[in-house]
């Protein structure tokens, strides 16, 4: 599914990723944990192709294809989805209009027929029902006036609608209370399948109680420092990241 080889990346001339290696197979959920400033968000932006995040070395192979030259929208159309740590507000654009645009843009890219209004609404209703979300959320402007929890649920809804092959969840747990965390996790788990993979980026072990990973990686100082099973997360929770940053544990 995803193979990252010796990935180096810079932001504003500063090297943040210093040789990341990572392989994710179809159906797997990998967690990436690490302290602040370790390069976790940078990794997610580099995978999504954000402008200003420059790959200076190494390769990102996704479904057998090198991604580095592709625009963000092309990567999205190929099935890469990034759930944002801070979902962005788009004033005046109803959620349903946004989703309709996205779904049809992706379908056009793939050479599929666009969904007409009726087909789209039917599909959207099915998704909101599946995720136990109210249709009222669809009429509101994208993320405008949404609570932290609503924003994250909206990310999960987008994920459900776009049906990505690789989902990257960037600190989806930040700013969520325990109830919201459960709901969001259920949403993510509902989308798990043997064909889909996820990369879950988080500070805390807590999220991994709900979204149980196949593998846990520690990203620090721009490199994967350690890889283990889900028990590694518990270990980190207990000992902190000091072993990997060269600093004393707090």
């Amino acid at each position: 599914m995803l193979e990252i080889k010796d990935l180096h990346a810079t932001v504003q001339g500063k090297e943040i990723l210093k040789g990341v290696n990572l392989t994710v197979n179809p159906g797997e959920v990998h967690a990436i944990m690490g302290p602040n400033g370790s390069g976790k968000s940078t990794l997610s932006y580099v995978l999504a192709g954000r402008d200003g995040y420059e790959v200076t070395g190494g390769r990102i192979i996704y479904m057998g294809e090198d991604l580095t030259e592709l625009d963000p929208e092309e990567r999205a159309a190929k099935g890469i989805f990034l759930a944002f740590q801070y979902p962005v507000e788009i004033p005046g654009v109803p959620n349903s209009t946004f989703l309709n645009e996205a779904v049809n843009a992706v379908r056009r890219y793939r050479g599929e027929d666009e969904l007409d209004k009726i087909q789209f609404v039917k599909m959207l209703r099915a998704k909101t029902k599946e995720l136990n979300m109210s249709d009222e959320m669809l009429k509101r402007a994208v993320n405008v006036g949404f609570s932290g929890g609503e924003k994250k649920r909206n990310e999960v809804l987008q994920m459900a609608v776009l049906e990505p092959k690789l989902s990257i969840l960037d600190e989806t747990d930040s700013g969520l209370d325990i109830d919201a965390l459960k709901i969001v996790s259920e949403g993510v788990n509902a989308l798990r399948s043997p064909e889909r993979s996820s990369l879950v980026i988080t500070h805390y072990q807590r999220l991994l109680d709900y979204i149980v990973p196949d593998k846990v990686h520690v990203l620090a100082q721009g490199r994967i420092q350690k890889t283990g099973g889900k028990e590694l997360a518990l270990e980190l929770e207990k000992n902190g990241y000091a072993d990997f940053t060269g600093e004393e544990a707090a």
Binding site: A48, R50, D51, G52, D71, P72, E73, R75, A76, A77, F81, L82, F84, P87, V88, E89, I90, P91, G92, V93, T97, F98, E101, A102, V103, A105, V106, Y109, A141, V142, Q158, L162
Partner: protein, 485 residues
């Protein structure tokens, strides 16, 4: 004697002298020679078989025009206009035998409309709109007339109205925009060739949206439409105006005048989607759109609402305004102006509060891209007698890129201590975060920009009639092509 020859004779007899120009051949082409003079004014009037009073009115306007200075206060920049380089009259050849139905319309004309995406038949059936087409200043087809006649609505070219109901035209023409209001309106008064006339009788709710498509097609033809809409007591009408123009090389002058009159308890909703040729990337060849639009809320409880989507023209100079004379009358102005490349727009509104408890609302959304420059210029004036007057103004500017400009120039003159006037203004840019977010969901960059801009304009878009709103949303995307990346 043929109709054409008759006209020539008539013109000659009116002017009392022989024309310098080879009019016979020109009239065969149905086009006045280039340039402007009293003779040309007389020619136009004669060509249209107008009554004496209107000719005098035109001549008075022409003489005033000669003396008037160009308005210089707007923030637009262009070389002086050579008024002698334009033709002031041109008409399709079939003018003398005006078609009674679409079957009689020149097929080539219909083909042109179809190229512009305005299939007449489809519009008739689907939109239920009576369309009064203006092709190079003369209306060639009016539809749905019967249905309107049943309820007594008059909707026809203004030249036809001069025959059908001359007293109505005479009573209201020039009463909202006086002959010498400004140089552009003055020119229009002298040389207007056609336009629409609408009269809604007392208590009638017009059964359909009225619509006119204006186009500019002939080389070097200034366009001078004159529109007059009168809503009698307790009536309602919604009027749509849309414009497109094909590519061309030289600047075209357009100076239209629109006058609206709302009597007691009447309401007029006037919507415009304007997409005239803006010129190339340097603005070369684009249209100069110098328009005077004004409505008078003459009766108590009357209401006039302007909605405009301005995406075209090299230069836009336009201030649809309301004179709130009647007590409790309401004026509204909803505007979206988009400028890209080298376009310039100086647009806004004037709300003149004269009556008691008059209210006005101004929502202006300006989007500048490329190296374009845009100004919102608005006046809210409260007269001493306008007890309890209220105004709310909101001006939002959105900048795309770092080479464009947005300016907000609100003038507020309040002479009544009890009036409440509110003004809010914001300026923002499309953020990189927003674009990345949308692109990450698969929406290509230009479509993402269009989506953000449409969201920014939503409040105004919602004021447009449904079929216009769809068209306008597409226009937003088209207008901003090439503005990013």
């Amino acid at each position: 004697m043929s109709a054409t020859a008759e006209t020539v004779e008539q013109v000659k007899s009116i002017s009392g002298e022989k024309y310098k120009y080879g009019f016979v051949t020109d009239i065969a082409a149905d086009k006045a020679p280039k340039g402007l003079s009293e003779d040309i004014v007389r020619f136009i009037s004669a060509k249209k078989g107008e009554p004496e009073w209107l000719l005098e009115w035109r001549l008075k306007a022409y003489r005033r025009w000669l003396e008037m200075p160009e308005p210089k206060w707007s923030k637009v920049d262009f070389p002086p206009i050579d008024y002698q380089q334009y033709h002031y009259y041109s008409a399709p050849k079939s003018d003398d035998d005006r078609p009674k139905s679409l079957d009689e319309v020149d097929p080539e004309l219909l083909a042109t409309y179809e190229k512009l995406g305005i299939p007449i038949k489809e519009q008739e059936v689907l939109a239920g709109v009576a369309v009064d087409y203006v092709f190079d200043s003369v209306s060639v087809a009016t539809t749905f007339k019967k249905k309107l006649e049943e309820v007594g609505v008059i909707f026809c070219p203004i030249s036809e109205a001069l025959e059908r109901c001359p007293d109505l035209v005479r009573k209201y023409l020039g009463t909202v925009v006086p002959v010498a209001d400004n140089k552009h309106a003055c020119l229009n008064s002298a040389v207007f060739t056609d336009g629409s006339f609408v009269y809604i009788p007392p208590g009638v709710r017009c059964p359909m949206e009225l619509s006119t498509y204006f186009r500019i097609n002939e080389m070097n033809t200034g366009q001078f439409e004159r529109t007059l809409i009168v809503a009698d007591k307790g009536s309602y009408v919604s009027y749509l105006e849309g414009c497109t123009a094909p590519m061309r090389d030289e600047n075209q002058l357009h100076a239209a005048v629109v006058e609206l009159v709302a009597l007691d308890d009447a309401e007029i909703k006037y919507s415009t989607v304007q997409n005239w040729y803006p010129g190339d990337e340097e603005g070369k060849g684009g249209i100069y759109n110098f328009v005077t639009k004004r409505g008078a809320c003459r009766g108590k409880n009357s209401k006039i609402s302007w909605t405009q989507v301005e995406t075209g023209s090299a230069i836009t100079w336009k201030y649809p305004s309301c004179i709130l004379q009647g007590d409790n009358s309401v004026g509204e102005f909803y505007s979206i102006a988009i400028t890209n490349n080298a376009q310039q727009a100086d647009t806004g509104t004037k709300m003149i509060h004269l009556g008691k408890n008059t209210t006005s609302r101004i929502i202006s959304k300006g989007i500048s891209a490329g190296k374009s420059d845009q100004t919102y210029r608005g006046l809210v004036k409260i007269s001493p007698k306008a007890e309890g007057a209220r105004n709310y103004t909101q001006c939002d500017s959105l900048l795309i890129g770092d080479k464009c400009g947005a300016h907000t120039v609100p003038y507020i003159e309040s002479k009544n201590k009890n009036a409440i006037v509110e003004h809010e203004a914001t300026t923002s840019t499309i953020s990189e975060d927003q674009l990345f977010y949308l692109r990450q969901r698969g929406i290509p960059e230009e479509a993402a920009v269009a989506l953000v801009v449409n969201g920014f304009c939503r409040e105004v878009m919602q004021q447009l009639p449904m079929e216009f709103a769809v068209e306008a949303q597409k226009l937003v995307g088209i207008s901003l092509e090439g503005s990013v990346g």
